[in-house]
Symmetry: none
Subunit: 209 residues, 4 copies
Amino acid sequence: MVRGTGIKAKNEANQDSVSRRLQIIRAAAALFIRKGLLKTTVREIARESGITVGTLYHYIKTKNDIMSLIMDEELALVNDFIREGEKALSQSGPVEALRLAIERYFRMTAEIQDLNLFWYQETKNLSPDQRKRLLEYEYQFAETFNRILMAGCKSGHFRDHDTLLTAHDIIVLGDMWAFRRWFVGKHCTLDEFLKHQTNLILSGICNST
Amino acid sequence: MVRGTGIKAKNEANQDSVSRRLQIIRAAAALFIRKGLLKTTVREIARESGITVGTLYHYIKTKNDIMSLIMDEELALVNDFIREGEKALSQSGPVEALRLAIERYFRMTAEIQDLNLFWYQETKNLSPDQRKRLLEYEYQFAETFNRILMAGCKSGHFRDHDTLLTAHDIIVLGDMWAFRRWFVGKHCTLDEFLKHQTNLILSGICNST
Amino acid sequence: MVRGTGIKAKNEANQDSVSRRLQIIRAAAALFIRKGLLKTTVREIARESGITVGTLYHYIKTKNDIMSLIMDEELALVNDFIREGEKALSQSGPVEALRLAIERYFRMTAEIQDLNLFWYQETKNLSPDQRKRLLEYEYQFAETFNRILMAGCKSGHFRDHDTLLTAHDIIVLGDMWAFRRWFVGKHCTLDEFLKHQTNLILSGICNST
Amino acid sequence: MVRGTGIKAKNEANQDSVSRRLQIIRAAAALFIRKGLLKTTVREIARESGITVGTLYHYIKTKNDIMSLIMDEELALVNDFIREGEKALSQSGPVEALRLAIERYFRMTAEIQDLNLFWYQETKNLSPDQRKRLLEYEYQFAETFNRILMAGCKSGHFRDHDTLLTAHDIIVLGDMWAFRRWFVGKHCTLDEFLKHQTNLILSGICNST
DNA sequence: AATGAATGAGAGTTCATTCAT
DNA sequence: TATGAATGAACTCTCATTCAT
């Protein structure tokens, strides 16, 4: 029903403190995504987790705390993306590197589309700390693209322009898959979407030769 | 403090039923935008409107009703945009028409950026009816751009491609000004933003020659 | 729709203070009967009366005041009944007098059945004064029957018994038409009802022979 | 102060979920009876129950829900009455059976007189379901009496007549103890009342021999 | 570790009554 | 006389969090 939270279940049998948290996080994420943060009650999260309210509060401090935990889960994905971004750039030319980076970003973002949408929508309800963390992610994503773009400008593959803004453009054109799902989801497949957007971006910034 | 709801005050002195509603709508919009729909209480709206709760309920039926009223206010803008879109196309070539449409959309969307962001974020808390209305707006915007793009493809100015998806791309690249304000707002002016995005889009779809 | 409030409209054209009150009383009575005293709002009464709230308050002091006015209207009926009761007794024997009193009471009570039911149900929401007045009516009704019954006992037509209790029995057996309407109304006509109850009562108290 | 709700307290020490509900029901019943359903607030019920509002809502779903629970409590009494009615008829003649049925009904109804009165008065404020249930009770009572009366007519002990209407008469003549308490309560004892009414009814329907 | 009853502040909404026009 | 906007206390119900068991 709920697609793409991107947070995977670990071995259910291992009911230690860590996996209990994970169990709660997954239930909460699903509910938050479906109903929104404020409309989801702690009772519902407990019920969905298969535990009681009292027990839930053994593993989390407050309702808002769960948000931080969900973010932690996502962190791994982001870090992977950024680390691999560096590698790609060093191994191929800027055009190919950008192509690859876009593909990886789009596929990742599509995988966690629900969560992605969720952050877009609940920004207002996050604590300042959480909001700050979220922005840092975004800045890092943008920076990753920016480095590739700047390299391409330097090497003459891309025309000279505001690369950082383009980096954000790329991110937004990918996130679209999540927040315009009501249109894109029906309109085309992820592969078609990826191809279209890649073409648009590359045609938009490449020096014609 | 709150920028660009786009809903303007009429003559304050004229405290008739219509203007009272407007007064409430503006206060509510500002609060909704700042705090979110669910975190804004009816009492706050009343206080911000300079009236009491009881009085507020003379002018609105329910809290959710206010949302519909806010949407009504916006409708005028949207209709203007769409109507003028038709004219532009008939008066100039597709490239120029697109350029103009983009400019008009970007400036309009920037003007009501807060409200725009608000709709992005509160979708979940709208009634089905309201959600439907919102989507209809979006479809109409996209259709306006789509018509220009298709004309351009036909005339050979634009390369053949999925024009409807591009139409949505344009919208998203404009809405960015609202939902990535934390970056774009600091990074450049609206005019620079407009120029960058227009270039990206046109370079992305124009047939080189 | 609403049957038998027994309060009749005077000449509508004569919109003086008295008839305005009557207009309000009639509207209020209909609403009170249909929805109950507490669930009827002053706004509804005004709307049903074809006037505004402000105007309504020119003619009545408080919502509760309307109850008193409704009672006043009913007073006339009650007084008529009691006055005529005296006459009947002096003109015929006790059996016939009782028979006639029962018939008159039943027909009167059936005519104002809704109002009758209303008093039964809203006793708790009346002011002490109103409650007292209502009881006085009841006592007078009972006393009327009681006098006939006592005369019949004295003359040997009725067996010796607690006549006052029987008087109340008679009243209750008549009011049934109102508060058991869900059964009696479907089960038989008022005439059949009257005949059955009269028989029951007379057979119950007459000396055989 | 409040007499005869007929709902008895179980062991107070046993504060489990069931008894908590009972505690609430009893408090609510007392308040509803004294002040009426609409004039009794949830806060009052909570205070009277010795708990807080929040706690109260652990045990009941809505204020109206309490009504259903009160009805459930009464159901037991009603079922007992009806079950025993069958037995009595098979063991003695119709006259004696009726006498017994009347006595049992009168004593039962006197025991729960407040509740009885309450149902009479709050019919309008019940949900359709609740209203339906209440009528079913009444029909069953009437049917119980009706069976005895029909048997008596068949055996020649009672004169031929509309037995179902008489059945309702009997019920009403018993309920009087509740809804005319302001008179009957002062006028005579329950035993005297029972004797008078029994005589009236039996004299009213028996074939003289 | 696990429970779920208890809390109480605060949410949206209603409504009898007043009063300036 | 007539209006209807304005009031604000009071209503029912919700929910994150605590804590004794």
